[in-house]
Symmetry: C2
Subunit: 317 residues, 2 copies
């Protein structure tokens, strides 16, 4: 039996996973992301941790199929990181630097793409080879999987669907400097904004008026208790998201859309609302596209990094 490692580098911690050739997670652990000195300690820390693990498990280099690495930033098709927001790295040839420290096959991908790959191989998208993962967190991210492989894009920014324009009439500015991005309505922050606005605009009774900390979770919790204002807020959110998904799936025609991120903890009710609005406006060929929840949580990245190593070669014609 041979093995691989999946390494998901974040701004505060590095998640590490040890997998067998079948893609089974055997062990996972974390090390701190030391971002001082322009993040120059990060790769040495990772390789030291892997070398220790290999020693403990009496593994030689020949026992390792490869190491998949996910980074928070755009990565080109050659595995070169172009920039990262929070590791202190500029352009960095991660494959080359990594292999100087540990001579095994290394592949590098963007963290959102790796999460999408992980959900496809071992999470909410199992059984599908063409999926779109939409991460509804503080922002809205995405990963496009075609025929089992993550789309990188020319600038390494494929799947940045949080910045699709969905409302030309918006007056508030998005984090990206533009107006009317999907992220302004469909992220946890966006839902909070929609909720605030609706509670200000009308005077209807609502459980939400008692909340000192208005957020996406309490909106969905109130909806589940039958609160009509919460329902209006979720309908508005789901209209934006469902319509955006209809326009996204027109492009790559996936068999499944997987919803992840903090907002997806709302569960099946999220799928129900978003799918309803999607079906109302979807192009006929895309109607019936499957919807599901992400299931791997914070482990999606390490699973995806393992899939990057273990996945079959693409068969796109």
């Amino acid at each position: 039996m041979r093995y691989c490692y999946g390494i998901d580098i974040g701004g505060t911690t590095i998640k590490m996973g040890w997998f067998n050739e079948g893609g089974e997670l055997l062990e996972k652990w974390e090390v701190e992301s030391r971002i001082e000195n322009n993040g120059s300690l990060i790769l040495p820390d990772i390789t030291e941790s892997i070398k220790d693990h290999m020693k403990q498990n009496t593994l030689a280099v020949k026992d390792i199929v490869g190491i998949g690495v996910g980074v928070p930033g755009p990565v080109n098709n050659e595995g070169v990181v172009l920039t990262t927001a929070n590791l202190g790295w500029g352009r960095k040839d991660v494959v080359k630097e990594f292999q100087e420290l540990l001579p095994v096959p290394v592949k590098v991908g963007n963290d959102a793409n790796m999460a999408a790959l992980g959900e496809m191989s071992a999470g909410g998208g199992v059984g599908h080879k063409n999926i779109i993962l939409i991460t509804l967190g503080t922002g809205v991210g995405g990963g496009i999987i075609i025929d089992g492989h993550a789309v990188v894009g020319h600038h390494g920014s494929a799947g940045e669907i949080g910045h699709m324009t969905v409302n030309k009439a918006e007056t508030k500015v998005c984090g990206c400097g533009r107006k009317g991005c999907l992220e302004q309505y469909a992220s946890a922050t966006g839902i909070k904004r929609l909720a605030k606005r609706r509670l200000e605009q009308d005077t209807k009774d609502s459980l939400l008026r008692q909340e000192t900390d208005l957020n996406a979770k309490v909106v969905f919790d109130s909806l589940k208790k039958g609160d009509s204002v919460a329902k209006e807020i979720v309908e508005e959110f789901a209209t934006y998201l469902g319509e955006a998904i209809a326009n996204i799936v027109i492009v790559t025609d996936p068999s499944m859309v997987v919803l992840g991120g903090g907002v997806s903890k709302a569960g099946d009710i999220l799928i129900e609302y978003v799918k309803k609005h999607f079906e109302e406006v979807a192009f006929y060929a895309n109607k019936g596209t499957h919807f599901g929840l992400a299931t791997l949580g914070n482990d999606a990245g390490i699973y995806g990094c393992a899939e990057l190593i273990l996945g079959k070669e693409p068969t796109i014609k």
Copy 2:
């Protein structure tokens, strides 16, 4: 030297191309599409024509790398045609049926995808491996190329960008039964509609008022002569198209957008207007995406079919 054939099946004619291994078109000809008897004569007609050509050029089966076939309808990843609007075919295993008539490697693709592949390999997109071809004809079609390969999609309908919703306020119904599709504004028919509407709505002088046959060509011709109403019409068209392209490229992040179809005969002025509106709203990572005109016209399909056979294996990670 070995060779391949590119076969582009249309509703009235079948375009046939003979290529060398370098992708050079050596000879092209057409045969009639005999759509009677549910199109059952089409494949025999094609294989007869190829066999004749092989005989004339003293080619044996071993001299043929393969035959690429483009069909007007969705095709799945196994080369099975799911449906065609105008050949009389239902679900059809073209690869299998073709090979029973002529035992050479055969690959099948959707005609819009083949045109995109052709423009990438030998036309307006040469030098790029990640392009989107947008065909502005009677309708609006598209083909998505990622890392040199056409995206097929789960239902064989990837790239149906003419049916992206771009105007929720539209009251007129699109051919697909929905409202506000890109095709309603950016096709030749759409431009004519925008022109009619504008000429009715205002009373300004315009060269267009003398036209008995108002169409996309006369709108662009009048723009080139400095007509201000024509300019307003093209600005409106280009706003819809430029903004739609900004949302499309968010998904797959191509390096180039190629505009083809009858409307693209307007030339560089088309690119100028569309790119201006694109740049105004594009996400920062996609700004600077190249724009160009399709150059192969009706030969794009046969070039794409040849590329389907001759193209390198994908390297998507």
